[in-house]
Amino acid sequence: MEPVATTFFFYFLSAVAIVGGIFVILRKNPVHSALALIMTLLALAGLYLMLYAPFVAGVQIILYAGGIMVLFLFVIMLVNLERNQKEEQFNKQWIAGLLAALALGGLFVFVYVKGNVLFPAQVFKVPEGENTQQIAVVLYRDYMFAFEIASLLLLVAIIGAVVMAKKRI
Amino acid sequence: MVASLKRQFGSGVSEASTYLGQSYMVVDRSLVPEILQVLRDQEQFDYCVDITAIHRPDHAKQFEVVWILYSFPRNERIRVKTAIADGEAVPSSVPIWPAANWLEREVFDMFGIHFDGHPDLKRILLPEGWKGHPLRKDYGIIQQDSEWVQINLGIESGQ
């Protein structure tokens, strides 16, 4: 299917993502922050769709928005919210934060200016219908070893988390 | 059994007999915890059926506190009674029978009799902050704590 109103959707989704991101850090209430983060993640999923990567978009929704964020909210609702709301939102490290933000901004500007040199002018068009299959081939054939290492690392992380969270085993 | 108790505690057990096939004993207030303990441990009265009180305003000692006990091994009931004056406290029997907890609270609620050593002696059926103890004879049947009703329910009268 030919894309419709690509530019509009690109800017719309980008704006949603950015506004969501800003709300994540501006809201005092952690639940609001989490909801804003979900908004950002959904907007990103939309951007993936526009890049002809439906599988990544689906996984983004199912894992991040549907899975991880639900757990986030689960934990946030359990902890003491009243105390968090009283806490100071911007602490003393704002200078370092500002510097980091400026550096990142500089990088973005650099990429934007030099973008035409660094990236191909035309985005490589992956056939949408085979996106999932191609990811599978890449993951499980070309980068099998890296994939397995990553999964092993995650397993270690899970076990570590269980050990740390459990009082006695 | 009653006879042996009488021997053991002497004049503390002022009356012990049977009326309509039900045995009861009247004991001195100071001996209450001891006698109840003995009744449970030696005489096997392991089940505290009820604790209640009777208000007799014409007596010198206005209140009569009644323990109704039952023994599973002996299949027997006994009533232990003691008379106390208004304002006098009775030792709590919660350490002997945990069942006494709410029963004593109810007696406190209805008669205003205090139980020494009760873990959480407060009103149980009436709301906290209520004035008066309704089962006393001087408390009228349609009497109410109108102040409480007005403050908490926002109405003139609960009647």
Binding site: M1, V31, F55, V59, G66, V70, L73, M77, T132 | -
Partner: protein, 425 residues
């Protein structure tokens, strides 16, 4: 413009794939209206069926046999005062029901009622369905948290834990079914014609694979398909918060769980979402394991004769319903007070019969086939839902988790591995 509209009619793909926005919009409206009607019917049916299971009559007053009860209920809900707790988080409280409803309806974009009867066919169809329906829990969590009250909060906590747990088992069962689209098996399991061995996540593709392999996936690699189906059938009840897994809204424990503080219109949105979510997961189950829109035995009982025989089913079903309604008119009390009700029931029977006649007109008959078989299979699931509710006590939270993590999850992994092994060797 007219050509644009007409042009689609000759195509053999979904409007989404054809890029025909007009027909996509028509399909969306059809699905939306159909779903709303289905929810209304479910409302009435659930009350009636449950009532008859429980030796009572159910709604009898509003309309003949309470047929107008759902409409009366809907009116009542719309007219009810909309209460928002004073301490509630207004924005989140307001958004939550819409979140739930939108996700519950969005998934129907990819549900294939027929080879071309879907709004669109996505390459990641099943993934899309699981993903979007998993967003529904966010709405529930939001509702529970925003109410700023303990019972909804506990309901939301239960709901989030439950959904995340059962989604995993559900996903494993789904992957097993997706694996089957590419695997044909050999030896005793060898069936159907060979393809290139690539599987598909597309909802339509999955049904077409079942058609090509000449088997429903529930029977494939027996008993692996059946076990995977069983896992999904259990997990989907848990996903939709229905008895015996209705802990997030357990009325005897949490009064009404996450929607305790909701009333009127907003509450009805939760209701709508619950039922459309039930239909959605049932659609997944039907698509993945029960051959989707395929009529019974399309490969063995093929030929014009059988096609004709099966094609009269939709009309015939409506004739049976009309006959039941007619019998109902006969059994109505003869008292003049019931005259209007009797006439109404008769008119209803007439309407049903008319629909039956329309469904027998050849062009309609051919096009309605797929939708009929799909709906019939989904309806069977809906009946099961009601049946569960009438039969089972409620699980306790830890037992629910135990079932999810200690029973369904290992079973799902085992089925997945076994399917892969059986399929390859």
């Amino acid at each position: 413009m007219l050509d644009y509209i007409k042009g689609y009619l000759s195509s053999d793909v979904t409007p989404g794939q054809a890029g025909n926005i007009f027909w996509a919009f028509v399909y969306i409206m059809l699905v939306f209206v159909g779903l709303s009607v289905a929810v209304i019917c479910m409302n009435w049916l659930e009350r009636k069926i449950l009532a008859h299971m429980q030796v009572r009559l159910g709604p009898m007053r509003v309309g003949p046999h309470g047929l107008l009860q759902p409409i009366a209920d809907a009116l009542k809900l719309l007219l009810k005062e909309d209460i928002m707790p004073a301490e509630a988080d207004k924005l989140v409280f307001w958004t939550a029901p819409f979140m739930v409803v939108i996700t519950a309806f969005t998934v129907f974009i990819v549900v294939p009622f027929g080879p071309t009867h879907a709004v669109t066919d996505m390459n990641i169809g099943i993934l899309f369905m699981l993903g979007v329906s998993s967003l529904g829990v966010l709405g529930i969590v939001m509702a529970g948290w925003a109410s700023n009250s303990h019972y909804p909060l506990i309901g939301a906590l239960r709901s989030s834990a439950q959904m995340v747990s059962y989604e995993i088992a559900m996903g494993l069962a789904v992957i097993a079914a997706v694996l089957m689209t590419s695997l044909h098996g050999t030896g005793i399991y060898g069936t159907g014609t060979a393809t290139d061995g690539t599987g598909t996540l597309s909802m339509i593709g999955i049904v077409q694979a079942q058609l090509a392999q000449e088997t429903w996936f529930i029977f494939k690699f027996f008993p692996l398909g059946l076990i995977a189906f069983f896992i999904f059938a259990v997990a989907m009840v848990a996903e939709t918060n229905r008895a015996p897994f209705d802990l997030p809204e357990a009325e005897s424990e949490l009064t009404a769980g996450f929607h305790t503080e909701y009333s009127g219109f907003r509450w009805s949105l939760f209701f709508l979402a619950e039922y459309s979510a039930m239909i959605a997961v049932s659609s997944i189950a039907v698509t993945l394991w029960l051959g989707g829109w395929l009529r019974p035995f399309p490969n063995y009982l093929s030929g014009d004769g059988w096609d004709g025989f099966f094609s009269i089913f939709p009309g015939f079903t409506f004739f049976i319903l009309a006959a039941i309604a007619l019998v109902g008119t006969r059994r109505m009390p003869k008292h003049p007070y019931f005259k209007i009700q009797t006439i109404g029931l008769g008119a209803f029977a007439g309407a049903l019969a008319l629909i039956g006649v329309i469904l027998l007109i050849p062009p309609v008959r051919d096009r309605i086939q797929d939708i009929y078989w799909f709906s019939a299979k989904v309806a069977a699931f809906m009946y099961m839902y009601i049946w569960y509710r009438g039969t089972f006590p409620r699980y306790r939270f830890d037992q629910l988790m135990k079932v999810g993590w200690k029973v369904l999850l290992p079973m799902g992994i085992a089925v997945l591995v076994a399917t892969a092994i059986v399929g390859v060797f």
